[in-house]
């Protein structure tokens, strides 16, 4: 054999090029750290190597490997492709799919260090989060999603062949417009259990017996004039109103839809529901993955398994990922979930392992518990962004990031700085920041409140306006048009103040013609 420049003992790879052997070696080393040292619990992994164009493909179909066909995906592809080609925007290094096996896409252009980072980040960080966070456990079926999408794609293709592109497009357009109003926010009602029902019945009777008061019998009954309102409440009850899942309501109750149209609404609704946990845990998910890759890369470096050069390359891309521009920076566009997530994860570890006096006061249960990883795993299991911030954002981090709150009242000529990072402000800042991650607060509260089935079948929706922020008018109008297309009759949206019940604005769309 001729002399081969041998790698130093223990080094996993050297240089920028990657091949399958190296990836395999790196994967095994990472798995060792992730599972044995960090105690992560992951779905089986599947790593797929793709090209930049395929990455764009995946982008445009909301990250899923297969998707039914719709022009909006083509639109996103066209835009992303142009941005990428002209160099305005890079591509994500990876995409990971919440499925079992957990699929991570890595791009062929990446260097070996980037592949290592991506495997640690996606195949272990995100994967652990998907498998263990209770929101995902409760709401998504990681094993079934790919099969379901396969079905959805085939079904919609079949519909297109049978009913024509235009008809399918019309339904899909409408369904997409209502996508974020197409989720169940509360767990489904469980099927009734006889024993539980009996127990409940018994409890109720006992309660009634305990609180029995004969005086109630003597209270005069309301006269017959309340009849119509009772029939109205009965009507609402029969239709399951009020209902905030607009897609669900239309799918089940719209009088003029055909079976295949209902099925399409259902598909879009299911996909929307599948993504609902991801929307609620963006901060934590990225925080978890970033913390995981950071820890793993550092351990690899400590163990002498990657070179100094690789470590520097990693640090360079890591720091640009967790960079948080300040509010007056031209690059500022909101709080970077990677930055805040990562900072909070590190902060939790710090509190658990090296608490200060202040931490002991603020987090009596957590401070000084010793095992930072265990504390993190617990947090990753139990919380979503909103509750996570509410629970774990520490004064230390608020000071470090110099967070402050600004009140923007359209009636005032100025913006008002309300709270800053001081003793008086911590709790307020934490509360407001948590609310910025609360989907229930961020998304307008829109419900179907009434429909007069016996009369003109007008569908009435209410938007309960908080803080006087109305809906975007032109978009609301366009969406109402879509709803009317599905419903088949007149649709009215009333914006009602949540405080005073006063009607602030009304939008109405007449029944679609020729339906």
């Amino acid at each position: 054999m001729t002399a081969v420049i041998s790698k130093p003992e223990g080094l996993l790879y050297d240089g920028a090029d990657w091949d399958y052997d190296k990836i395999k070696r790196v994967y095994d080393a990472i798995e060792d750290i992730a599972v044995n040292e960090m105690g992560l619990d992951v779905y089986p992994n599947q790593i797929e190597v793709i090209t930049a164009e395929q990455m764009l493909d995946a982008y445009s179909s909301i990250g899923m490997p297969l998707m039914y066909r719709h022009w909006s995906f083509g639109k996103h592809f066209a835009r992303d492709e142009m941005m990428y080609r002209k160099g305005y925007r890079g591509l994500a290094y990876e995409i990971v799919i919440n499925s079992s096996p957990c699929i991570s896409y890595i791009m062929e252009e990446n260097t070996m260090t980037m592949q290592t980072l991506v495997i640690a980040h996606a195949a272990f960080g995100h994967n652990h989060f998907f498998k263990n966070n209770q929101l995902f456990q409760q709401w998504t079926d990681a094993r079934g999603i790919l099969d379901y999408l396969e079905f959805a794609k085939a079904f919609i293709t079949h519909c297109e062949e049978r009913h024509g592109h235009a008809a399918v497009e019309r339904v899909l357009d409408a369904a997409h417009a209502l996508m974020s109003q197409g989720v169940h926010k509360y767990p489904k009602k469980r099927p009734l259990d006889l024993r539980e029902e009996q127990k409940r019945e018994r409890d109720r009777r006992e309660y009634e017996e305990q609180t029995f008061n004969d005086l109630w019998r003597t209270v005069p009954r309301p006269s017959g004039s309340s009849r119509p309102s009772r029939s109205m409440s009965e009507r609402k009850k029969l239709l399951g109103l009020p209902e905030e899942n607009l897609l669900y309501f239309l799918e089940k109750k719209a009088p003029r839809l055909e079976h295949w149209q209902r099925e399409i609404l259902r598909i879009v609704r299911h996909i929307s529901q599948y993504f609902y946990p991801q929307k609620q845990t963006k901060l934590m998910n990225e925080g978890c993955a970033t913390y995981t890759h950071y820890t793993i890369m550092n351990r690899l470096h400590q163990k002498g398994m990657i070179t100094e050069g690789a470590m520097l390359e990693f640090l360079h891309s890591h720091t640009s990922v967790v960079f948080q521009p300040e509010f007056d920076d031209p690059r500022f566009s909101g709080i970077n979930p990677y930055a805040l997530g990562f900072a909070m994860m590190q902060d939790i570890q710090r509190i658990a392992e090296n608490p200060t006096e202040e931490d002991r006061h603020w987090f009596p249960d957590l401070a000084g518990k010793g095992d930072g990883m265990a504390a993190l795993r617990e947090a990753w299991h139990n919380f979503r962004d909103e509750s996570f911030v509410l629970q774990y954002l520490s004064p230390h981090l608020i000071r470090k990031m110099k967070l402050f709150t600004v009140r923007d009242d359209a009636e005032d000529p100025y913006l008002l700085v309300e709270h800053i990072h001081n003793e008086r402000g911590f709790r307020h800042i934490r509360k407001l920041l948590a609310r910025q991650y609360d989907l229930g607060y961020l998304e307008p509260d829109i419900q179907i409140v009434d429909v007069d089935l016996a009369g003109d079948r007008k569908l009435i929706l209410h938007h309960r306006v908080t803080n006087g922020v109305l809906l975007d008018e032109s978009d609301a109008k366009a969406v109402l048009r879509h709803i009317a297309n599905l419903w088949g009759y007149e649709v009215q949206l009333v914006e009602v103040s949540a405080v005073s019940e006063a009607v602030l604005k009304e939008h109405a769309v007449t029944a679609p013609s020729g339906g």
């Binding site: 395999k24 566009s333 402050f404 600004v406 008086r424």
Partner: protein, 429 residues
């Protein structure tokens, strides 16, 4: 862990989505392409480029809160000097404060994306056509299409018609009474029973019968070469409308570089259009100074020459070529002429006569493009008509297929071109 290499998976997964998108945005895309094409050179048209369309038809609305109004609270990082109760002047609208605001918000009035060359040309050349393509004539062996024409006993194995073959085989087997496998099995069973009973007489009979059947089934094959049938195809010549386009260009000294450039661009576009839309259109290039010559494409577009101007020579040359190669009865003849409008005064009458009496009766459509210098717009606008323009104007009658246009700048080429060849246009003035 599995590693899967997906790089070789079929590309263009989103092509179907792209087509749906283009169909959806058709109206705006067509408009954008028309707008864009007026600003670009032919090379650009060939390469395809970025276009932007308004988001009107491709908006994806959703129910979301408006960007302004009401009471909002934000948490932002990086406090430097503020204390509680400080006020900040309201930033300009759209200052991007806070993390709210929809991603598909205001800044999206224009949607920009890249059209490929094919898509661009398709849209650009859509609903253009040669007017009045009527003289249909089948030209030999230009294009054939295969049609099925029954069955044949010989052919290539790929064309074997299994059903037909098996049907023949079955009828032959029935006709010749080939023993069925079931019959033989039955005999064998009986023989066995006879053997068990020890009935030698019956055994002998059965053996004979069996022998006979075996022989017969050997003699009559399951499939015989005479059963085999193949699908037969016939090539049918496709009728093609024969058309020829004459491109006449003035390259005399009076044409400035700018004018030549315009004329060449026009012909380049014409060439592109014909090549794309009519695969079998002949194109004849004629350029002239004081004498005309038929040249090839390369020379026509890229070589230079100067001299005086005698327009009639080009028309004569065209007449000669027509007589030689394109008999009027069989061909749809088109011509496009580009010139700066200068002509020898003595030649005008002759040109007019030639055009009126010889060329126009031959032609389905004759387009005259006059190129002018960009800066003397004012003069032309005042109505200083060139010699040739006036000459042709005199020839022009509503019933003659003569169209005349003036082009001053590159920007006008595309609109004029579209105007000349728009589909709804019948050979009108």
């Amino acid at each position: 862990m599995n590693i899967i290499d997906r790089r070789l998976n079929p590309q263009g997964k989103s092509l179907a989505n792209r087509q749906r998108f283009l169909r959806r945005a058709k109206e705006q895309v067509v408009k954008a392409v028309r707008d864009a094409s007026s600003k670009r050179s032919i090379q650009d048209v060939e390469s395809g480029d970025k276009i932007s369309i308004s988001t009107g038809g491709v908006r994806e609305p959703s129910l979301h809160r408006a960007n302004s109004g009401g009471l909002r609270d934000y948490v932002v990082p990086g406090n430097k000097e503020y204390v509680e109760g400080d006020t900040i002047p309201r930033p300009e609208q759209g200052g991007g404060r806070g993390s709210e605001g929809s991603p598909d918000g205001d800044g999206e009035d224009d949607f920009r994306f890249v059209l490929s060359r094919e898509e661009f040309l398709d849209i650009f050349l859509e609903d253009l056509e040669l007017p009045d393509l009527v003289k249909q004539k089948v030209k030999q062996s230009e294009s054939f299409s295969l049609t099925r024409a029954g069955f044949t006993p010989s052919g290539s194995p790929a064309n074997l018609n299994l059903v037909r073959t098996m049907r023949n085989s079955l009828s032959r087997r029935i006709a010749l009474k080939r023993p069925k496998p079931a019959e033989i099995e039955e005999l064998e069973r009986l023989l066995k029973e006879a053997e068990e009973r020890g009935d030698s007489e019956e055994m002998r009979e059965l053996r004979e019968a069996l022998e006979h059947k075996h022989l017969r089934s050997k003699r009559i094959p399951f499939i015989d070469p005479i059963d085999v049938r193949y699908n037969r195809f016939e090539s049918v010549p496709k009728p093609i409308a024969q058309a020829v386009m004459f491109c006449l260009m003035d390259v005399s000294g009076s044409m400035t570089e700018h004018m030549k450039d315009l004329a060449k661009r026009f012909f380049m576009l014409l060439y592109l259009f014909l090549k794309r839309r009519y695969r079998s259109v002949d194109i004849v290039f004629i350029r002239h100074t004081h004498e005309a010559k038929e040249v090839d494409e390369e020379t026509f577009f890229y070589s230079t020459e100067t001299g005086g101007t005698v327009v009639s020579t080009a028309l004569e040359e065209m007449q000669r070529v027509v007589q030689e190669r394109y008999p009027e009865g069989d061909w749809n003849i088109y011509a496009a002429q580009a010139s700066d409008g200068d002509n020898m005064s003595s030649d005008n009458a002759r040109s007019a006569a030639l055009l009126r009496d010889v060329i126009l009766p031959l032609c389905q459509y004759f387009a005259y493009i006059e190129v002018a210098a960009e800066h003397n717009m004012g003069l032309s606008a005042l109505g200083r008509e060139t010699e040739l323009w006036r000459t042709y104007k005199m020839v022009q009658r509503p019933d003659l297929p003569l169209a005349m246009r003036r082009v001053r700048s590159r920007r006008e080429i595309f609109p004029v071109f579209r105007d000349l060849f728009a589909r709804d246009k019948v050979a009108a003035p």
